[in-house]
């Protein structure tokens, strides 16, 4: 079919567009990981242990790159999302279990994203009761009324907000010698607090919805094996970019308020920065928080919708109209509505729902293990199967991340029981 209007653009513009066209599912999926909860964790890492977590971030980046690349490859070469593949290649029961956990855990995440949007606006003096409902409607409309390409462009635009953090980093004038030595050499602290934080860092950087979204969006975008080299750039580049942003947050907070102790939330980080690093850093952190929360508030419910529709065999896509994909659109709508509503209710409900994120720790090992096994299957991927060397790195990454994820679960459960 012909789309003359888009073709009227000049040659130079087209080259820029081609470069931008590479960006997509990978950048979005990985950057959604820097959500409200992520920013809080990274800021807390910087505030509590200054530069000491940087080496860990290098390891996490390797793991994230490996996992996201495998997810994208599975999507491109099979034309199906992760949950569909798990149902086809393994069993309906495991796929269902993973999806039920995902739905609950993601609901918790959506609530925290909308809480993040509310907090972000309140930093600028806008009431959350005004900001959150409007944000919810806008996010819903972008995804439901537009095509995938359109929604993707809006998401990429939101990712630009992340550039606030590198600027904040420079404003903070960190100790570059320290940064370099901590990045290259491990400077671990043998304390309970450090372990807890390390585990939280890994958990917030590698979350199941990111892999689900990555694979499903690659399929939705119609990326096949021939386009895959470009998509690999997108997924690898996206993962690295996302973690560079995380590192910027850690360094910026470390430089300004390193050693001050833990922070509970992203807006608290912005407030803590203000007296030390000035109102510029405060504003940058607030802008970053808004962009990050809005991006994740769209991506997380989308991954739920992808996951559940794939599990029940009604997979449809963002590009479909409401009447063509009632389940997909319905799930997305419910998640956004509930997420925004709960984020506005005062009291403990928010806390309860945010606690459901613990389920992410349960499904992370499951999803990662399946990604690894599927990406090792020659019958599924043909020549695009993991090479022996890649397989070794991927196995170490998956085992390491899974072990840490399970540690979070154990810790939390023990915490509920009053032990630990």
């Amino acid at each position: 079919m012909i789309q003359p209007f888009t073709r009227l653009v000049g040659r130079r513009r087209r080259r820029v567009v081609a470069l931008l066209a590479i960006l997509g599912p990978g950048v979005i999926a990985a950057n959604a990981g820097n959500d409200a909860g992520g920013i809080a964790t990274y800021a807390s890492a910087g505030a509590q242990f200054a530069y000491r977590t940087l080496f860990l971030m290098v390891l996490v980046t390797v793991a994230l790159v490996v996992v996201q690349e495998m997810s994208a490859r599975l999507g491109a070469y099979s034309g199906e999302g992760l949950v569909s593949l798990i149902r086809e290649q393994f069993s309906l029961r495991i796929a269902s279990f993973a999806v039920v956990c995902l739905v609950v855990a993601n609901l918790g995440l959506v609530v925290s994203e909308f809480a993040g949007i509310g907090a972000g606006f309140e930093l600028f003096g806008v009431s959350r009761y005004l900001a959150v409902p409007i944000a919810a409607v806008v996010i819903w409309a972008v995804v439901v009324l537009g095509t995938y390409r359109y929604a993707e462009r809006v998401f990429l635009l939101l990712s630009v907000a992340f550039l606030a953090y590198p600027v904040a980093l420079i404003l903070g004038s960190p100790d570059w010698g320290q940064v370099a030595s901590n990045t290259v050499l491990p400077h671990f602290v043998a304390s309970h607090g450090f372990l807890v934080l390390a585990v939280a860092l890994v958990g917030t950087t590698i979350t199941p919805y990111m892999q689900l979204y990555q694979a499903a969006a690659v399929v939705d975008r119609g990326i096949g094996p021939d386009d895959y080299p470009r998509e690999r750039l997108d997924s690898v580049g996206g993962a690295i970019f996302a973690n560079l942003i995380s590192v910027c947050i850690i360094i910026a907070t470390a430089a300004a308020i390193g050693g001050h102790g833990p922070l509970a939330s992203a807006d608290q980080a912005a407030r803590a920065l203000e007296p030390v690093a000035g109102s510029g850093a405060f504003a940058l952190f607030a802008v970053g928080l808004l962009g990050a929360s809005a991006l994740a508030a769209a991506v997380v419910p989308l991954s739920t919708a992808y996951g559940l529709t794939e599990a029940v065999g009604a997979e449809r896509s963002v590009s479909r109209r409401i009447s063509e994909a009632p389940l997909f659109v319905g799930l997305f709508t419910v998640q956004v509505a509930v997420g925004a509503a709960v984020a506005l209710i005062p009291g403990n409900l928010i806390k309860l729902l945010i606690n459901t994120q613990i389920l992410n720790g349960v499904i992370t090992p499951i999803i990662l293990a399946f990604i690894l096994v599927l990406a090792n299957r020659r019958s599924l991927l043909g020549d695009a199967v993991n090479s022996p060397r890649f397989r070794a790195v991927a196995t170490v990454s998956v085992v390491g991340v899974s072990a840490l994820a399970l540690t979070v679960v154990a810790q939390t459960v023990l915490g509920w029981l009053g032990v630990g």
């Binding site: 034309g79 569909s84 309906l92 029961r93 065999g313």
Partner: protein, 444 residues
């Protein structure tokens, strides 16, 4: 393109689907006799009236061109080994498990013969095409029933109820919950070695679908299924389907096929659509495709690619019927009736001895004319509706709107005919993504 069958409305589709399912379930005896495959897997396999020899791992069915594929064997798990038992050895299949005729059977490994499929491994939970409902479904459960000559696959369940049942304890799993059953006769399956017999049935069922319906289905399918479905179609109908696909999806699909196949499909497509599909390939890819094409097709497509897509030359089709002034009307009429795509021939171009356009004679005028006349007698006073090949798209739209014609002729600087742009191609170009499918749905 002008005379497509109208797209059935969603309610009509549902009615069509339900009628089949009702027919299948109308007979209570049939409904009660259905055996659920999901419930059967893992059940004991016994010797008739005797002891358990193993557990059922899978059932083997053969796609043999019949509407209901026969069960040709079973795969058992005996200890830690898998063994194959042919259907002749199976005495009974019921919800509690299967019974074998005698203890004397040889345990051999399952060796897939052409057309054979593992029902639990290859079909259950996989994508299927529901030809009646025109959609891609995923099998929640498969139902077997005893017919005269043995056990056959009769239906596929796509309901959520069956999914829930399969998540529950084993005891629940055996009880069929046929809430949304599709008669297997309306199903296009995947995952088979393409055998010569299989193709016949596939074509019959699939040929009932409209190309735009098939295009929607192709877009929904996973990669292997997509290729399999495309391979079962005749080149001509495959080309019709490709013309209806989204440009991005089409590009992905073509890049994924061997150049020889791409060349074959493009040759069967309308030249303007084929040129569009080629436009975004890089030079190496183009070279590969062109060298796999027949020279006739390549020479038809190459000039189209020379014009940017936003110009008249990029939009036109090069299929033209050209008549000289002194041609007899009878000859031209005969040529019209021989043309492949008669309904895309809006008009016949009349040219002078130098090959310059004098008039664009509507096919209707030509057909009602006296066969003994000469073409020049039909030439009207008014100027023909033409645009230059280099004219921008907006000029084409303006010309069509001003003149209310169904097509506009594209000419070069010397007024020689190059191609034609039909109003429906302009509509496609004006309506952004997915416009084509939506238009079909709307006019229903």
């Amino acid at each position: 393109m002008a005379r497509r069958p109208s797209f059935p409305s969603p309610t009509a589709l549902r009615r069509r689907r339900d009628r089949r399912a009702e027919r299948l379930l109308a007979n209570r005896a049939v409904a009660n006799a259905l055996v659920s495959l999901a419930g059967l897997v893992g059940r004991p396999v016994r010797i008739s009236g005797g002891s358990e020899v193993g557990r059922l791992a899978d059932l083997v069915a053969r796609w043999d061109g019949q509407p209901y594929p026969p069960i040709t064997g079973a795969v058992l798990r005996v200890g830690r080994r898998l063994a194959y038992v042919p259907a002749e050895q199976i005495a009974d299949v019921n919800r509690a498990g299967i019974e074998l005729r005698s203890a004397r059977f040889s345990l051999r490994e399952f060796d897939r013969r052409p057309g054979e499929v593992l029902l639990a491994g290859d079909v259950l939970d996989h994508q299927l095409v529901d030809v009646d409902g025109v959609r891609v479904v995923r099998a929640s459960d498969l139902y077997l029933a005893r017919v005269v000559d043995g056990w056959r696959l009769v239906g596929v369940d796509v309901g959520y109820q069956s999914l829930l049942r399969r998540l529950g304890p084993t005891r629940w799993r055996a009880r069929p919950t046929p809430d949304r059953v599709i008669d297997w006769a309306a199903i296009q399956p995947f995952g088979v070695d393409p055998g010569p017999i299989r193709l016949r049935r596939e074509n019959r069922e699939l040929s009932r679908l409209h190309p735009s319906e098939l295009a929607d289905i192709l877009e929904e399918l996973g990669r292997t299924e997509r290729h399999e479905l495309l391979d079962t179609l005749e080149p001509d109908s495959a080309a019709d389907v490709l013309e209806e696909m989204e440009p991005d999806e089409l590009r992905t699909l073509l890049r994924d096929l061997p150049p020889a196949r791409v060349a074959q499909l493009l040759g069967a497509m309308e030249p303007d659509e084929a040129a569009d599909a080629l436009r975004d390939l890089d030079d190496d890819e183009l070279h590969e495709v062109f060298s796999a094409m027949t020279p006739a097709v390549a020479s038809q497509l190459r000039p189209l690619l020379a014009f940017p897509e936003s110009t008249a030359g990029g939009l036109m089709t090069t299929r033209l019927l050209v008549a000289r002034c002194d041609d007899r009307v009878a000859d031209v009429q005969a040529e019209v009736s021989r043309a492949d795509d008669r309904h895309d021939l809006a008009a016949v171009v009349a040219v002078d001895d130098d090959g310059r356009v004098i008039d664009d004679i509507p096919v209707v005028d030509l057909l009602v004319a006296d066969p003994d006349q000469r073409v020049e007698e039909l030439v009207s006073e008014t100027e023909p509706i033409t645009v230059l090949a280099t004219a921008p798209f907006s000029d084409v739209v303006d010309r069509l709107i001003d003149t209310r014609h169904t097509s506009v002729l594209v000419v070069d600087d010397d007024q020689r005919p190059m191609g034609r742009i039909l109003a429906d191609d302009v509509i496609d170009a004006l309506v952004p993504t997915r416009g084509r499918h939506r238009l079909h749905v709307r006019h229903s």
